[in-house]
Point group: none
Chain length 218, copies 2
């Protein structure tokens, strides 16, 4: 069995990264030297219980998660890393917001980050956590608006989930066409070409969740 204590360092680093805090900032708040934090993260030294506890508290994480084996031994594949498909041209709602992200994010409706598309489509961010490639948002389609003014279908990595709050939305996924009415919901593999269109005469609003495959990455 693999010693969980051996993973403590990497695990700490992983969690610290998510918080966006620098090693030196941690050291400052913990009142220890930066070098020591580095030594801990690299497994060259071990903290005392007091330091361990303070560390967990600082990262607002139960002590136990520090012992969990960090994710998967994601031995980075040497090859597949360099480039993805040319999905850059597609504008899909991943990582398009500003950079403010945290481990806990609460948003009230009057204070959302909003992105307005030229095509009568609006995304309002509902939460900005430290997860990348993840978007939780309210989407608004004005009457006549559609995903792509060109009418083309789009596809991208990951999955997409939606819940209709108000109005009607015509959802096309692959061959499937369905009408989303308030209370209806759906989810699909977004590598299937898809398109949304508000064919009705009233505004459509829905709760949307979109994420890529690699929800977290080192």
């Amino acid at each position: 069995m693999t010693d969980p204590i051996a993973y403590l360092g990497p695990r700490l680093k992983e969690i610290r990264m998510k918080t966006g805090l620098s090693l030196r900032e941690i050291a400052r708040q913990l009142e220890v030297s930066p070098s020591f934090v580095s030594q801990i993260e690299n497994g060259k030294s071990q903290p005392s219980v007091a330091t361990l506890y303070a560390l967990a508290k600082l990262l607002s994480v139960p002590v136990d998660v520090l012992f969990e084996s960090a994710g998967d031994p994601v031995a980075a594949p040497t090859k597949a890393n360099d480039l993805e498909v040319n999905r850059n041209n597609f504008d899909h709602p991943t990582d398009v917001w500003d950079s403010s992200r945290a481990r806990i994010s609460a948003v009230n409706p009057n204070n959302r980050s909003i992105i307005t598309m030229d095509s009568g489509v609006t995304w309002e961010r509902l939460a900005a956590t430290s997860e990348e490639s993840v978007n939780f948002m309210e989407i608004v389609y004005e009457p006549g608006a559609e995903t792509n003014k060109s009418g083309d279908m789009i596809f991208h990595d990951g999955f997409e989930y939606g819940y209709a709050l108000a109005g009607e939305l015509e959802v096309t996924i692959g061959d499937l066409v369905l009408q989303l009415s308030p209370g209806h919901s759906m989810g699909f593999d977004s590598s299937i070409p898809h398109r949304f269109r508000n064919t009705g005469s009233t505004q459509f609003r829905g709760i949307w969740f979109v994420h890529g495959h690699n929800v977290d990455h080192s």
Copy 2:
């Protein structure tokens, strides 16, 4: 605030007592000297992280409960080793539904899979895609209902996102307590201990999205 580390010793003793194990027996299994265990229990010395972890493991208790100020119900097993960590009772909404999952999933409100918890909490599945460790659902908290009847906070791998449709929900995440009203939304790293509670007099309903770290796996 009183230092939780000061309570570590007494806490250990308390838990050990419940297991019926002698101090010397602990020392034997831990492969340390009995005197040292005594010193730890009396706060005259502190264990290293390794010893602390081994200790928690031996008592089959999460490390965190060693820091709790004594008095809380520990649910310690009567004999060591016959029970696992009492974290198992935590049910969190991942992979609890039936197996029907597809690449495209559309659900209308009258035809949802529903899980009713004993505590007045209901989950209604909004989509069932082929993704594992992912749940998109409408959650309902009746007045007075809470995540855990015991009042304990829960934590698990992954992230959690919510949008309030109706009613009020008291959300506790780590130290943070916030009131979720209709239109409000939030997201957080679910490894931070959290708890939800409907403190109001009306039913709470919200759109929830929960996923583990490993969103897809081959």
